[in-house]
């Protein structure tokens, strides 16, 4: 994802660098404070006392996309908003990740059939890393999604992909 990717041969140094990089990235995923609809309340509840997103180092909600690492698309994405979401995603600095939270942003959710103004899945406008199910997902589900995302980050490498 970052600027360093795919520039190095795979060797011991790269592996240990990978470990450090991925540890740092997966340990402090700062979310963009960006709530759309119902799921935003559950996202706030995830940050609140009972579930406490901060335990994973993800509690520092950044208001500006420049400083955020993960975008939690929490809620229905309408067509009017889709354009803005794409722009917000472009404003985020690499490496950036997207968690699509809830049915609506996964696939349009309950609004997929007659929603003339609803985008059917946020993956139409931005790439999504993890899909969290639920309508709205329980805070635990979001935390589980975050853990899944961390697993995904830990598997990244800056080594060049083998040609085969």
């Amino acid at each position: 994802m970052g600027v360093l990717e795919g520039k190095f041969e795979d060797n011991v140094l790269v592996t240990s660098l990978d470990w450090v990089f991925n540890w740092a990235r997966s340990s402090s995923p700062w979310p963009l404070s960006f709530g759309l609809a119902c799921c935003a309340i559950e996202m706030m509840a995830t940050g609140a006392s009972r579930f406490d997103l901060d335990r994973f180092g993800a509690g520092a909600y950044r208001a500006t996309p420049r400083q955020a690492d993960i975008m939690i698309v929490a809620g229905t994405v309408t067509l009017k908003m889709g354009i803005r979401i794409r722009r917000l995603y472009e404003q985020m600095a690499d490496p950036k990740y997207v968690i699509s939270m809830g049915s609506c942003s996964n696939n349009g959710g309950p609004y997929w059939k007659y929603g003339y103004h609803v985008l059917k899945g946020v993956d139409e406008v931005i790439p999504v890393d993890v899909y969290v199910p639920g309508c709205p997902p329980r805070p635990e589900s979001l935390l589980e999604g975050l853990i899944q995302l961390k697993d995904k980050i830990r598997r990244q490498t800056i080594a060049r992909k083998s040609e085969a």
């Binding site: 049915s103 993956d123 993890v130 639920g134 309508c135 589980e144």
Partner: protein, 165 residues
């Protein structure tokens, strides 16, 4: 002037009131407010509505769930079981007259309202307490419950035996 001083005094004291509350919370043990999720999991109540599950061996393919669903996330396709086939019964004794060869639930469309579980005559469609199923690919959220294959692979094949007869 008295108002000015009163304002100052009020501002000063209320600040200390607020600070007293926060400092009390700081030194109070976190008595069960925070549930450390991956290591400790709070038990879900009996009626929790999470992922849908269908015991397909009990399903009679009536399609009432699909009709009740406000978001049309259940896709059922059935066909009549042949006369020659052995009769099948659900666990509560209801005869299964239809073979369900497609019973797909798209959990990305589901709104977890549980309206589908109530009309089910054999109570085979239930909402489980499973909530940890975040995936990397959203197609993994479509659950295929049907195990039977349709009798005929395609509609054309279905036509053929009829034509022969």
């Amino acid at each position: 002037m008295t108002r000015y001083l009163k304002d100052l005094w009020y501002g000063w004291t209320t600040t200390w009131h607020s600070m007293w509350i926060t400092i009390r919370h700081l030194f109070r043990p976190n008595k069960g407010y925070t549930i450390q999720y991956p290591t400790v999991k709070a038990p879900l109540p009996e009626r929790a509505r999470m992922r849908l599950f269908n015991r397909i061996e009990d399903c009679i393919g009536c399609g009432q769930c699909a009709r009740a669903c406000p978001t049309d996330c259940i896709d059922i396709q059935t066909e009549k079981r042949g006369k020659d086939e052995p009769p099948v019964f659900a666990s509560d004794g209801t005869p299964i007259k239809l073979r369900t060869f497609v019973f797909d639930i798209d959990m990305t469309l589901c709104c977890y309202c549980a309206l589908c579980t109530f009309p089910c005559p054999t109570h085979c469609l239930v909402m489980t307490k499973e909530y940890e199923y975040a995936v990397y690919d959203k197609r993994d959220h479509i659950y295929h419950f049907a195990v039977d294959k349709p009798r005929y692979a395609s509609p054309a094949e279905k036509e053929q035996p009829a034509a022969k007869a």
